[in-house]
Amino acid sequence: MRNITNYMKITLAGYSRNESLARMCAAAFASQLDPTVEEINDIKAAVSEAVTNCIVHGYRDTIGDIDMTLRIIDDDTLYIKISDRGVGIEDVEQAMQPMFTTAPDEERAGLGFAVMESFTDDLRVHSRVGKGTTVTMLKQIQRRG
């Protein structure tokens, strides 16, 4: 059994100006694990990509709720869950291919999932068309000192 020692849940309106708020919240919560600057930057980038996906793809031209759950597991791992109740993804495997994007007009590089994958230790994507998408990430923070 893995031990959850702390958690936080927030709901953000899906406005693009809340992208920076979401990554600041995640970085502030993660700071209790005494992460390096590098690890904090990894977390901020991964959260930014996930929240942007909710806004750009999940809700498109509408504004909906974005739920973010943060947990500390076993005093060394940050768990991040970010969900929307938007349109969902038909083919998750295809969506996760680097450079694949359904929003070229927004100048999305199609790298969101690639960034989440490379800057965290574990990435899971669960989606149902018409129901929404949930992204779960784990980031292990090296113990120091």
């Binding site: 930057n41 930014s48 990509e49 100048e107 999305r108």
Partner: protein, 106 residues
């Protein structure tokens, strides 16, 4: 202003300051497109030394401007990325656009 534009013999330099995400990139895109469509420079150099955060929206911003510049045969270069910004550029395959330290930015 998130972007300062300066011209020299090498063309246009766009010095970006602050965070580049999906939200801020929208204004940066409008500002830069306005500038390059007016002056049609041969080279657009993004000076990244003032960038404190960048996600893949920065990659989209650079790729989009490279596409615009192509209309008149112009090129995009990237100068002074932090280690962090460099990590994102490497992941996206944009590293070849980075001007090498000490090299002439021709």
């Amino acid at each position: 202003m998130p972007i300062e534009f300066t011209y020299d013999k090498n063309g246009l330099t766009a010095a970006i300051s602050g965070e580049i995400d999906h939200h801020s990139a929208a204004e940066m895109r409008i500002m830069t497109d306005g500038e390059i469509e007016r002056s049609m420079p041969r080279t657009l150099t993004f000076d990244m030394s003032g960038v404190t955060f960048m996600d893949s929206s920065g990659v989209g911003l650079i790729l989009g401007r490279a596409r615009e510049m192509k209309q008149w045969g112009g090129k995009v270069r990237i100068a002074k990325p932090s280690e962090r910004v460099g990590k994102m550029l490497k992941l996206s395959g944009l590293s070849p656009l980075i001007i090498k330290e000490g090299a002439k930015n021709a």
